[in-house]
């Protein structure tokens, strides 16, 4: 049995199984799109409160640094 015959046998055995039933690229694109996170307004408000608090009362900064 030569190489060509082995290749043919392998193709016969695995050829059917390895063929994709559909194009996976659109699904991949959809998943990549899903990963973009949108930050809700509530979290922006919290961040603004944190920044305002740190600016108005700088004494809280070392306490935060100690705790983080």
């Amino acid at each position: 049995m030569n190489d060509q015959e082995i290749k043919d046998l392998l193709k016969q055995s695995f050829g059917q199984a390895s063929e994709l039933e559909r194009d996976l690229w659109p699904q991949m694109l959809r998943r990549m799109g899903e990963r973009t996170t949108t930050v809700p307004w509530f979290d922006w408000a919290l961040l603004a409160l944190v920044v305002a608090g740190l600016l108005l009362i700088p004494g809280t900064i070392p306490i935060l640094l100690y705790q983080l």
């Binding site: 979290d43 004494g59 306490i63 935060l64 640094l65 705790q67 983080l68």
Partner: protein, 148 residues
């Protein structure tokens, strides 16, 4: 195959405080050696360097364990951590002698008095910071490491 999810949760949890630690240590060293503020850095650094990262990792393991039982959003789970950290931090600071709780406020390093209302505000800010950090940073690392 055992994929060691709790080990990965621990690793994902310790990333953020380890990165913040660089900022904290830099700030401490600037205060100590550039501005010559006499603070006992070696005693103060124990808590943020040794305990906080470990507790972040353990808290993330706890989140992973808790998720199938009583699911809490990761941000809220993280916002509960200061309720554990603050008593430990205060106890350690008073034990090591760089924090005294006086009638007017908390005396840090024997020279900085922070009134209690500012300590309370700092705690509330800490809750918000922890909520955001856990929701976006620890949550991101959990996703990266495949346990989100």
């Amino acid at each position: 195959m055992n994929t060691h999810p709790y080990l990965r949760a621990y690793m994902a949890g310790v990333v953020v405080p380890s990165l913040v630690l660089l900022v904290v240590v830099t700030a401490y060293f600037f205060a100590r050696f550039v501005y010559q503020i006499a603070i006992p850095i070696e005693r103060a650094i124990v808590f943020p360097m040794a305990l906080v990262p470990s507790l972040f990792g353990l808290w993330n393991m706890f989140y992973l364990w808790l998720r199938p039982r009583r699911h809490l959003p990761i941000g809220l789970h993280g916002a509960l951590l200061p309720f554990v950290l603050a008593p430990i931090g205060i106890t350690l600071a008073t034990t090591l002698g760089f924090l005294q709780l006086g009638p007017n406020g908390a005396l840090w390093f024997g020279r900085f008095v922070i009134p209690y209302h500012e300590v309370a505000i700092a705690f509330c800010i800490g809750l918000m910071v922890y909520y955001l950090v856990w929701k976006y940073l620890v949550g991101f690392f959990n996703q990266v490491i495949g346990i989100a």
